[in-house]
């Protein structure tokens, strides 16, 4: 019995790779296994190699593995491109239709299964996916019932006959493999799962659901990979809650609309990736200057310019901190799991209203699109805090005599009372021009100085964000501290375990979740405890490493491990480079 295995399905983009992976993994998730799926795709819609790799485990996992146990191939290219990942004795299930062959030097077991032919027999060639699902589940010894509910949900709209035919295709896949192998392969038999009910979602789903739960009712956005799922989810759900999504003419319109909506009192968000964020820069400054809340999601992808639009990267960290001219208070948070995507998004809306400033939720492609098992989401943790929003009519009556409302009142913590347009006694002006306490333009140097300090003061004492750094630091004195951000959480964890187990070194792990204001003190404490610090990040210049050097110092301790070829880190890459560093002092 094994504790985990990796399964991959590949073929030409558009021929049902996604749905094969989807059905297989949902069934396993329902059985109580922990899953982590990563889709490899290109920016073509049809054609081009695409694959989905799914890791299945009896304990929580949040990373793809180095190796592969089962490869399902719908074309020879899939075998040629991926067979090297298979470990000794790994299995390839390939459509007999293309006469699959093993590349030289690969010692996997190849089963040519007539996916297409069986599917045609059952009724429709497209159901070759289902035959593949059946064949896979037979290898693993999964019960057929596990697929029944998944198939019903997916096809019941099309009628019972379609459901039955798909189940039949799965069954035929099972039968074919069982005939060949005489039953499940021992090397692929998973330990029993705990059978608990959990969710299975991509980071973008969790962000979108978080926004809905936080009370966001308007989204304005322009489609872009890899953020569009957020928009698509809310297009589906917001109408049920009276809200709406506007697909704007560009990202400048999107962020501007979000600012308008927030000014009007509705929680609103936009989501985009690098190119869109670049366009939003000026308006982010407007949000900061006018102290209008705004929530902006950046699902990072390969840059610069159009870069690698469908690939993983973490190279917008600097841009998110520094972009927009002048100096504004701004918050940047970076969830690292799908669960955190949900809860952090709720927090983002609270922070935006509490500190009356732009809040950027920084994600990355692997987190936004990677599908992972999520513990049940807790309704009671949905708290809505609107900050210093004056709604009390009594309070407003008292304001009556004071003529204009002091929307930008100088206060100790810098946070001024906010009021929504439409209130009788709340008239005030809002402008991106420097202004006085009532919002009237003012070039008075004294006022300018006070107003600038008031705005910046809002974040100076730190912000109310839960767990600014995720710490997995059990050693008081460590040989190594690994620092990461966003989706690398799981892969670092695995490398850490391997280093401890195989090399006997003491490793701590700190994952940065709050990027701005930078959690200097927490990181300093952890860095002081470690002999060496390794910063793992998907970029070329070491943006996070440089932030550590800037804010914490200890530059001579810090090494940066970068990867910017478009693919997420593998555990072995981090493990090997850390080992190298510990032995030779450099990577």
């Amino acid at each position: 019995m094994i504790k985990q295995l990796s399964w991959k399905v590949g073929g030409q983009q558009g021929e049902g790779i996604d749905s094969t992976g989807e059905i297989f993994s949902i069934a396993l998730n329902r059985m109580g296994y922990y899953l982590y799926g990563y889709r490899h795709f290109s920016s073509r819609i049809k054609g081009g190699h695409s694959n989905t790799k799914i890791r299945i485990s009896v304990r929580p996992i949040r990373a793809v593995s180095d190796e592969l146990d089962v490869l399902v191939a719908f074309d020879q290219e899939t075998i040629d491109l991926n067979a090297h990942e298979l470990h000794e004795g790994g299995v390839i299930l390939a459509d007999a239709k293309f006469n699959p062959t093993l590349p030289e030097g690969v010692s996997a077991q190849l089963f040519a299964v007539p996916f297409t032919k069986i599917a045609q027999d059952v009724g429709l060639a497209q159901m070759k996916n289902m035959v593949a699902v059946g064949a896979s589940s037979a290898l693993l010894g999964l019960p057929l019932e596990a697929f029944q509910s998944v198939i019903e949900e997916k096809f019941s709209r099309k009628g019972q006959q379609v459901v039955d035919k798909n189940m039949q295709a799965i069954q035929r896949g099972v039968e074919y493999i069982t005939e060949q192998t005489g039953g499940p392969l021992n090397a692929l038999r998973l330990e029993k799962s705990d059978g608990k009910k959990r969710l299975y979602m991509i980071g973008n789903d969790a962000i979108a659901l978080g926004a809905l739960a936080a009370g966001a009712r308007i989204m304005a956005a322009y489609p872009i990979t890899p953020s569009s799922e957020i928009m698509e989810y809310l297009i589906k759900q917001l109408p049920k809650f009276g809200g709406t999504v506007v697909q704007t003419e560009d990202e400048i319109a999107a962020i501007s609309m979000v600012i308008g909506a927030n000014y009007g009192g509705v929680r609103a968000l936009t989501a985009s990736a690098g190119p869109g964020l670049s366009l939003m820069t000026e308006a982010i400054g407007l949000s900061g200057m006018t102290e209008t809340p705004a929530v902006i999601v950046n699902t990072q992808r390969g840059g610069p310019s159009t870069g690698l639009p469908t690939k993983q990267e973490q190279s917008d960290i600097n841009a998110m901190i520094y972009s927009t001219h002048g100096e504004i208070p701004k918050i940047v948070i970076a969830p690292s799991t799908a669960e955190e995507c949900f809860y952090d998004t709720i927090q983002a809306f609270n922070l935006a209203e509490k500190y009356q400033c732009p809040v950027i939720i920084l994600s990355d492609l692997a987190l936004s699109l990677g599908k992972q098992t999520v513990e049940p989401l807790d309704y009671d943790r949905i708290q809505i805090e609107r900050g210093n929003l004056v709604t009390d009519d009594q309070e407003l009556e008292e304001l009556e005599n004071s003529q204009l409302f002091k929307r930008y009142q100088f206060t100790d913590n810098g946070i001024s009372p906010r009021i929504l347009p439409g209130k009788k006694h709340g008239l005030h002006h809002v402008t991106g021009v420097e202004h006085d306490e009532t919002g009237r333009p003012s070039e008075n140097p004294l006022n300018r100085k006070k107003m600038m300090e008031k705005r910046l003061r809002k974040l100076e004492q730190g912000i109310d964000f839960k767990d600014p750094v995720h710490l997995d630091c059990k050693h008081e004195e460590a040989d190594l501290l690994i620092v990461g951000i966003n989706s690398t959480r799981g892969v670092i964890h695995e490398a850490m375990e391997r280093l401890e187990e195989k090399e006997g070194v003491k490793v701590n792990h700190a994952h940065v979740r709050q990027v701005l204001p930078f959690p200097t003190d927490i990181l300093r404490e952890q860095m002081a405890k470690a002999k060496k610090v390794v910063v793992v990040e998907n970029n070329a210049t070491g943006q996070l490493a440089n932030l550590l050097k800037l804010h914490v110092g200890m530059a001579d301790k810090i090494t940066h491990i970068g990867k910017y070829d478009g693919n997420p880190f593998l555990p072995s890459e981090i493990y090997n480079q850390c080992k190298e560093l510990l032995v030779h002092g450099h990577v």
């Binding site: 329902r30 659901l209 049920k240 809200g243 709406t244 979000v258 009007g264 509705v266 333009p441």
Partner: protein, 288 residues
């Protein structure tokens, strides 16, 4: 009930004496009062330029944003609170150069706001450069030998983009201007009012006198039917766009808010943010 004086505040406009924008300000204040609005019912979102300052001169809610983006901000605000009367305002550079994309799309989208462009055919605030509304040959700091680009025809453009309300006015005719702003406010959907608002400092060609000589008032045209789009286009072309009055109105076209599935009469800003546990469980079930 509020009078136009209630829409005045104590801020002294920093416009040059004689600037056309003073009339636009007065027309707005009168139109609001005539329509029975109170200051707190109104929000003016403006762009950047001499004209953009207008939101600071009205006693109402005002949002002075960034150059060219008044329209998306105004649309976001209106969607957030449909009880508000939202007016967007700015210059010809704001609306027809840097913000042109938003103008076309706001017309298409048809959110129920009123957009007033103070068209002086020049960039005032940046001290006199050419604008997309400048006529060919117009000499400015940025076109010392005269503009060599064609002029944008905003009224014709609005018609082709599917506008439901297209009007044009001139600062010197406060009465007509006020009436058109009122019509715009009443119109359900996006209304565009282009106002020839002379810049007395940087535009020595398109002056009050020049307009007196060249403008044709559609109010005086017998039989002019503003519901006839073809005729509207013809009239504009006949006079090279130099007409005033209500050029076109389509009362049938529904505003964006009316077409959004599930969009409530009650403003979103006044609705409860929290979703209940049952709804939440239902949402989560999709991912089980």
């Amino acid at each position: 009930m509020a009078t136009f004086k209630d829409f005045r505040n104590k801020v002294k406009p920093n416009w040059c004496p004689g600037c056309g924008d003073f009339s636009v300000l007065a027309a707005m204040q009168r139109a609001f009062a005539n329509q029975g609005l109170e200051p707190e019912d109104v929000a003016i979102v403006s762009g950047i330029g001499c004209s953009g300052r207008i939101s600071g001169y009205v006693n109402a809610y005002g949002f002075h944003g960034v150059h060219g983006r008044a329209l998306p901000i105004a649309q976001g605000l209106k969607l957030a609170n449909r009880d508000l009367t939202v007016v967007a305002a700015g210059g010809d550079g704001d609306g027809f150069a840097i913000g042109m994309g938003h103008t076309i799309h706001a017309i298409r989208r048809n959110v129920d706001i009123t957009y007033i462009v103070m068209d002086n055919q020049v960039y005032g605030l940046t001290k006199g450069q050419t604008s997309p509304r400048s006529e060919m040959g117009f000499k400015t700091k940025s076109t010392p030998k005269g503009s060599i680009e064609a002029t944008i025809a905003p009224m014709e453009m609005a018609l082709t983009a599917g506008a439901g309300f297209v009007a044009q006015a001139v600062s010197s005719d406060l009465k007509q201007l006020t009436r058109l702003v009122e019509e715009g406010l009443k119109h359900k959907g996006f209304s565009l009012i282009n106002v020839y608002s002379p810049c007395v400092t940087y535009n020595k060609v398109n002056t009050y006198d020049w307009f007196k000589e060249h403008l044709v008032n559609l109010d005086d045209e017998e039989g002019y039917d503003p519901s006839n789009r073809m005729q509207a286009m013809q009239k504009l072309m006949e006079h090279n766009g130099l007409v005033t009055g209500l050029i076109y109105q389509n009362k049938e076209r529904k505003a964006y808010e009316e077409l959004i599935p599930g969009f409530d009469e009650k403003p979103l800003a006044k609705q409860d943010l929290k979703i209940n546990k049952e709804q939440f469980e239902e949402l989560v079930a999709e991912f089980a």
